[in-house]
């Protein structure tokens, strides 16, 4: 418990609203530029690198609560997904899996798998297969018509979109981490031992 409590400093707490903002701005920018992606987890991954897993989990939770408050309560059950991704990434970063490009790729893959499995399970068990809030629902429906397997179709659709999505998110966070001023990073030295190599 002591380790968890150590992460909850004022500096980390203040970082959460900003990270939530980054998540949402990333998502809005995507729809503004009409990109077929979400990119709504940049803040969570960034905060996992800066402040650690538990703060990242809270950031994921707050993001979904906020989305539920202002946009659509459908997002609420998915807070479990964001929390899991934050936790997994945080612990991976902490054990050194963000120090080089290849290690970051491994973290990215682990995060993608976590996201895919948890999100599909929620889509399947809470919503019965589709939420109808984005275009991928139509793709899922087409897959179901072709394969007649609901869970398999939900899983494979979500795997495909997540792989591309998380890949871009991690690339952005990796390049950001090497651009953030050293003076700023040093406040959060708890979680990241070595800064990624300058690119």
């Amino acid at each position: 418990m002591g380790i968890i409590k150590d992460q909850f400093t004022t500096k980390s707490l203040v970082l959460i609203p900003i990270a939530v903002g980054i998540n949402l701005i990333g998502g809005t920018l995507c729809s503004l530029l009409k990109l077929p992606l979400f990119l709504d987890m940049i803040g969570t991954i960034l905060i996992a690198c800066l402040s650690g897993p538990w703060i990242a989990a809270i950031c994921g939770l707050v993001t979904n609560i906020f989305l539920a408050l202002v946009a659509n309560p459908v997002y609420l059950p998915y807070s479990v997904v964001s929390m899991l991704c934050g936790l997994v990434t945080g612990f991976m970063v902490r054990s050194g899996f963000f120090e080089s490009k290849w290690k970051a790729v491994i973290t990215c893959l682990v995060c993608t798998v976590t996201n895919t499995i948890s999100a599909s399970l929620i889509t399947f068990f809470v919503y019965g297969g589709a939420t109808g809030i984005n275009g991928t629902s139509f793709f899922t429906a087409a897959m179901i018509a072709a394969t007649k397997e609901i869970l398999f179709s939900v899983l494979s659709t979500s795997m495909l979109e997540n792989l591309i999505d998380k890949g871009i998110v991690f690339a952005i966070v990796y390049s950001l981490m090497s651009k953030i001023p050293r003076r700023f990073l040093s406040q959060y030295s708890v979680s990241i031992r070595k800064r990624p190599a300058e690119t």
Binding site: F8, T9, T10, K11, L13, V14, L15, I16, P17, I18, V20, G21, I22, L24, I25, G26, G27, T28, L29, C30, S31, L33, K34, L35, L39, I42, L46, I58, V62, I65, F66, A68, L69, V70, A71, N72, P73, V74, Y127, G128, G129, A130, T131, G132, S137, T140, A141, I144, A145, K148, I150, I172, S175, L176, K179, I180, F184, Q187
Partner: protein
């Protein structure tokens, strides 16, 4: 996507109720619909919610959101579950390429009704409650101050960041960054737009943290005063009792039906 909590005071009875009562209503109505074995109860609850929205004078928004969300998801789930659910035994229609089963249709309707009850109740609470009022009520229930700060700060920070992003977008466009055109062009535009927003927000946050520290945000074990007090109304207590009773009755009915007594 609209990212602000557009609360407009309308001075109705619903607005004057304690936010915790509304939260209890979401939980009680939602869970009752969820556990009850068929969609009929949920339909009744939805009609009740519509009446409440009329009292709160937001029936237009209510209908728009509930129908706008309800119709597409009903079609989608009827397609997925109605045609391809493994539980289908009784066939009610033959569409040529697939058969529509009764069990899947009922399952789909149940999910849709449950979702709509949650959505509608949540919408009613959201539209009739100012967020600071809600946070004040939750703090009364024992929510830590820091958690309350998180929700409120997020609501304040996000519009600020959006404003900052539109400024950055304009200046990047003035510098010649293309934000329209082919897919590759738009992806390339993403980084120069997002980077400055994130970096400047992080620097801004550092100042915010210092300001809060100097005002004693991190001190533990002191009694804090509040600026916003949660609203209360005489209807809160009887309503709480009714809501809990409703949930209990539905629970007992469901159990009786499960064991085949009714």
């Amino acid at each position: 996507m609209e990212m602000s909590n557009d609360f407009v005071p309308k001075n109705t009875i619903i607005e004057k109720m304690n936010p915790n009562t509304k939260l209890l209503a979401i939980i009680s109505l939602g869970i009752s619909t969820l556990i009850f074995p068929n969609p009929a109860l949920g339909l009744g609850v939805l009609i009740f919610l519509f009446v409440v929205s009329c009292i709160a004078k937001i029936q237009k928004t209510f209908l728009k959101v509930v129908l706008g969300f309800g119709i597409p998801i009903t079609v989608m789930l009827l397609f997925i579950q109605g045609l391809y659910s493994p539980k289908n035994k009784t066939i009610i229609a033959d569409l040529g390429f697939a058969q529509m089963g009764l069990e899947g249709v009922l399952y789909a309707l149940k999910i849709v009704v449950t979702l709509l009850v949650f959505l509608g109740a949540f919408l009613l609470m959201n539209k009739t409650t100012h967020i600071s009022n809600l946070v004040a009520a939750l703090t009364d229930l024992g929510l830590p101050n820091k958690a309350g700060y998180l929700v409120l700060a997020t609501l304040n920070v996000v519009p600020q960041m959006q404003k900052r992003m539109s400024v950055i977008r304009q200046s990047q466009e003035a510098r010649g960054v293309e934000t329209q055109g082919g897919l590759f062009n738009r992806i390339k535009a993403y980084i120069p737009l997002l980077g400055p927003v994130i970096l400047s927000s992080l620097i801004d946050m550092q100042e915010r943290g210092m300001t809060l520290e100097t005002r004693g945000f991190g001190i533990n074990g002191v009694r804090r005063t509040t600026y916003v007090k949660a609203t209360r109304s005489p209807m809160d207590k009887p309503l709480n009792v009714i809501l809990i009773l409703f949930l209990l009755i539905v629970l007992i009915l469901t159990l009786l039906m499960k064991f085949g007594i009714l």
